[in-house]
């Protein structure tokens, strides 16, 4: 019998459950390794070579190289683990979170200062809030913005 996953209809959200965790094990463990300064240096010196030391899928490696956090999450990454990549890149949590929305840093920061993203229209898939798939990407300038 399938597990109960009542959270699959929340728009713009991937819940890090046991299935995601299993898929993302090596991706997340790679991220953990970046908590050591020496590993951060080795990764920065040659990202590809460092990634090749881990039993990650090629897609996971591509997602990391592209610094596409949404892609990383789809392949099993969790934001608290992925944050170690951001830390290595000297990014703040706000920069990382914002990078997943399609908004520019300024747009995202302004949204937070204005009280954050509204819940209205963003509770269930199929509503019309700004986090819904049919309104992606967000932000004034269209197109992917998930570069390093």
């Amino acid at each position: 019998m399938a597990l109960d996953k009542p959270y699959l209809d929340v728009p713009g959200t991937i819940i890090f459950d046991a299935d995601q965790s299993r898929k993302g094990y090596w991706l997340n463990q790679f991220c953990m390794s970046l908590m050591k300064p020496a590993n951060r240096e080795r990764f920065k010196a040659d990202e590809r070579a460092y990634l090749d030391e881990w039993a990650m899928t090629e897609e996971q490696k591509q997602a990391v190289l592209a610094r596409d956090l949404n892609w990383c999450m789809r392949t099993g990454g969790n934001i608290y683990f992925l944050a170690k990549i951001g830390a290595t890149d000297a990014k703040s949590f706000q920069q990382m979170a914002g990078s997943m929305t399609g908004m520019s840093e300024d747009e995202y920061r302004a949204m937070m200062l204005g009280g954050g993203r509204s819940i209205e229209g963003n509770r269930y898939l199929g509503e019309d809030g700004d986090a819904q798939p049919h309104r992606q990407p967000q932000g004034a300038r269209p197109g992917p913005r998930n570069k390093a």
């Binding site: 009542p6 908590m35 934001i79 683990f81 290595t88 703040s92 949590f93 914002g98 993203r117 986090a131």
Partner: protein
């Protein structure tokens, strides 16, 4: 005997720690937030506990995916601030209280809560930011936190996290454990994390101030009802990371007006209540409740 005289609730946003460490607290962005904790720092000085039992979550710091304990109690003598990738926070080490922690572990496990016992771990912003908020800046070498701390790390990273009801019941078991300790100790219990926030996906940046404030109201007045709220409501209404708020129910369950899942006495006194948006990606909530 030892007794729990107060519970403290606060968000533990890492950027708050960074703002203190980088001396940015007077900047216009941060000033309103820190103003909300001025009372609390004075209150801490006037109501200095002998021990703080601090409920928080580890953010992929001490616990990787190798081990994911649902409830982990620290019984060590000392905990070092962790390097989360930006370098360790420049704050003093956290001294533990191994005797009381071990006593609580034994008592709580005998009450059917199977805690994981941890004798060695580093502590991340989830634990050190609340200490900084309530105790102010401390020099990493010359300074010290005002009292020993017993960490209780709760898994809120990998779903499913413990239910609100389970957390509320655990709080009651912790109070029984504390009250069965012979030494006369003044113990505070802190619940940290939250409030509404989402750090991932197209819905990142979600804030639900109305829901948060109703959570605060209910935490004070009807925690036994609040405990019944299912995970999915936290996720949907308060964001995927807003689920950290279940940890507040552990601290609330340890207040003396609650026993056997029911309210048996007057609600605790609200010494302080504060709410502010934003700190980085997050709504900040803060309460101080004093036992009657």
């Amino acid at each position: 005997m030892a007794r729990i005289t107060a519970s403290v609730y606060t968000s533990h946003v890492p950027a708050i720690g960074a703002a203190m460490d980088l001396h940015k607290t007077a900047e216009p962005y941060w000033q309103p937030l820190f103003k909300g904790y001025e009372f609390s720092r004075q209150w801490m000085r006037e109501h200095k506990p002998d021990v703080v039992f601090l409920v928080y979550n580890d953010h992929a710091t001490a616990f990787s995916l190798d081990m994911i304990p649902t409830f982990a109690i620290g019984t060590a003598a000392q905990y070092q601030p962790a390097d989360e990738g930006w370098g360790p926070r420049p704050v003093p080490p956290v001294l533990g209280h191994p005797e009381l922690a071990s006593h609580i572990a034994q008592s709580v496990i005998q009450q059917d809560f199977d805690l994981t016992i941890v004798n060695r771990m580093d502590v991340d912003h989830g634990l050190t930011v609340p200490l900084s908020l309530l105790c102010g800046e401390q020099d990493p070498q010359e300074g010290a936190w005002p009292c020993p701390v017993i960490p209780l790390a709760v898994n809120v990273v990998q779903y499913p996290v413990p239910s609100g009801q389970r957390c509320f019941n655990l709080g009651q078991a912790i109070r029984k454990a504390v009250e069965s300790y012979d030494e006369d100790l003044n113990v505070h219990i802190w619940g940290t994390g939250g409030m509404s926030h989402q750090l991932q996906g197209a819905r990142a940046g979600l804030i639900n101030a109305e829901w948060d404030n109703r959570f605060l109201d209910r935490l004070i007045a009807e925690p036994e009802e609040l405990a019944k709220v299912p995970h999915i409501e936290y996720v949907r209404e308060a964001g995927s990371e807003g689920i950290e708020l279940v940890m507040w129910l552990i601290a609330r369950g340890a207040m003396p007006d609650v026993a056997d899942g029911r309210r048996i006495g007057p609600a605790p006194r609200v010494a302080h209540r504060f709410f502010h948006v934003p700190a980085s990606n997050t709504a900040v909530g803060h309460l101080i409740l004093e036992s009657p």
